[in-house]
């Protein structure tokens, strides 16, 4: 694979997709810390819970009281060396009953990135609206 500069590589096991490390090129704390924040907020929505709830109940005795079903067990990032422009993001997910019901780390990361994009769009529109209102008010 020499000569091809990949922006992202996934290192993990082929049999267990729920845990992998994503190695990103040309990234630093700016994106990695923001993605770590949105990864921590990743929850299963209620539609997924209903079909998985009966199976998962065996594993979590206090499940009735959990109002939150997080999808990640561990997420973190590290910069192997400050001179190299690389970031390693590690994602480990819950949900590994069988391979058909597993929650691959790649999907969780993709959902987290989607969420981050939507948060940014919301920030942009709120800020733009507030600036316009301020300008109108103060002519």
């Amino acid at each position: 694979m020499e000569g091809i500069l990949l922006f992202a590589m996934e290192h993990g096991s082929l049999s267990d997709l729920s845990a992998s490390t994503f190695s990103l090129m040309d990234e630093d704390h700016t994106l990695a810390n923001s993605v770590r924040f949105t990864l921590n907020q990743e929850n299963m929505d209620s539609s997924v819970v209903d079909c998985m709830g009966c199976v998962l109940r065996h594993n979590f005795y206090a499940y009735d009281m959990l109002t939150v079903r997080p999808r990640v067990v561990f997420c973190g990032y590290s910069i192997p060396h400050p001179s190299d422009n690389k970031v390693n993001i590690r994602v480990q997910t819950t949900g590994t009953i069988s391979s058909s019901l597993s929650d691959p780390a790649k999907d969780v990361l993709k959902d987290a990135l989607e969420n981050l994009t939507q948060m940014c769009q919301h920030v942009r529109s709120t800020f733009g609206k507030t600036v316009d209102d301020f300008k109108v008010k103060n002519q």
Binding site: A8, L31, N43, L66, R69, V123, T126
Partner: protein, 368 residues
């Protein structure tokens, strides 16, 4: 034993709410005399799940709680409050504002004549740091193999001299002339019959382009001193400006810094009256406290302006009893952006958010 009840479900702390002290840890940084505590954010959505409290800040919750309030807005500077956003996002915006928003700055300087006291490379370095009044969104990046043309280069000329027997004169940025037609210098070739080439290949004049013709491309400030010339000295050079980002060189940073601080919270733990109140009010150098008259000559101290607190800790230094508790509100940031002039500060912030979105999109397309 039919219904399992959590040991934490006590009557005074109902399910679904955090106890007071935990909520304080989660939302405030407490600044003690020696060091701040509870500084890291509790991000994990399942952190308090066994208490039945949802700690997630997902998209719906974020959209509902997020607010922006603008305190001050001028041509060069903006100060605004962002409420309901996490430190990781606020820091990401700050880092992008400083290092990753593109600007135009002088990169290549073609020296024809420099008999001044300022060395060539020092003069070129100074020229690179001059803020240019050019919208970088109208230009493209110039890479190694590209030909410099009207879409990726701005050409300036500086031709000044100081006559003999006249006093020393100062070269200021208003003497940098914009050349909309491109470079006027000719490349040296051995082949005398070949057509003369210049250092740039402009296919049309830059002021014929619609966006640029509205406002001529110049420097932002006319009175920056570039060099000083003594009698008989002269400078003749051509400078080419290209698009770049602050990560590569600080001359391409569009802000004269951008920073944020968390909203300060000052709480009086006990009632401070009379002489103690006067002492407390005088201790604070930024007038966070003020006196409130209670009548009959009685006065007490109140927190009048917590936003001004700079955390100098004068009010808690060397005191025996604790009168004041200093803290910072975690998800409330006071952002200040000072622009160097190419883009207005509110446009800069919007560009920064766009760049973070682009990073996510690029990563998403790589993963799919």
């Amino acid at each position: 034993m039919s219904k399992k009840v959590s040991a934490l479900d006590m009557p005074d702390v109902p399910m679904g709410q955090l106890p007071e002290h935990l909520n304080r840890q989660r939302t405030r940084v407490t600044c003690n005399a020696d060091a701040p505590i509870h500084t890291d954010a509790v991000h994990y959505s399942g952190a308090y799940s066994l208490m039945g409290v949802d700690n997630s800040m997902g998209l719906e919750k974020f959209s509902k709680n997020f607010k922006v309030e603008i305190v001050r807005l001028s041509e060069d500077e903006i100060e605004f409050d962002m409420i309901g956003i996490d430190a990781s996002l606020a820091n990401a915006f700050r880092r992008i504002l400083i290092a990753e928003i593109p600007t135009m700055a002088i990169e290549k300087v073609l020296m024809v004549n420099n008999t001044s006291l300022i060395a060539d490379e020092v003069l070129s370095h100074r020229l690179g740091l001059i803020p240019l009044d050019a919208d970088p969104r109208l230009f493209e990046y110039l890479s190694e193999n590209d030909v410099p043309n009207e879409r990726n280069t701005i050409v300036y000329k500086l031709e000044v001299s100081c006559k003999k027997d006249s006093p020393r004169n100062t070269v200021k940025t208003n003497q940098l002339k914009w050349l909309p037609n491109g470079s006027e210098l000719e490349m040296a070739t051995l082949d005398k019959s070949a057509k003369v080439k210049s250092y740039t290949s402009f296919s049309c004049s830059q002021d014929s382009l619609p966006e640029i013709s509205k406002k001529p491309l110049g420097v932002k400030h006319d009175d920056i001193i570039i060099a000083k010339l003594g009698p008989g000295q002269a400078i003749e050079l051509e400078a080419h400006a290209v698009k770049g980002i602050g990560k590569v060189h600080a001359k391409w940073s569009p802000v004269a810094s951008a920073w944020y601080r968390m909203l300060p919270e000052v709480v009086l733990l006990t009632e401070v009256k009379g002489q103690d109140a006067e002492k407390l009010v005088n201790k604070c150098p930024v007038n966070v406290f003020d006196i409130e008259d209670l009548g009959h000559g009685d006065k007490k101290a109140i927190v009048a302006n917590p936003r001004a607190c700079t955390l100098c800790r004068e009010c808690i230094r060397g005191v025996n009893e604790e009168l004041v508790e200093l803290g910072r509100v975690k998800h409330h940031f006071i952002f200040t952006i000072e622009s160097t002039g190419a883009l207005s500060p509110e446009e800069l912030f919007i560009e920064a958010v766009k760049i973070l979105e682009e990073k996510c999109d690029r990563l998403l397309s790589e993963l799919s």
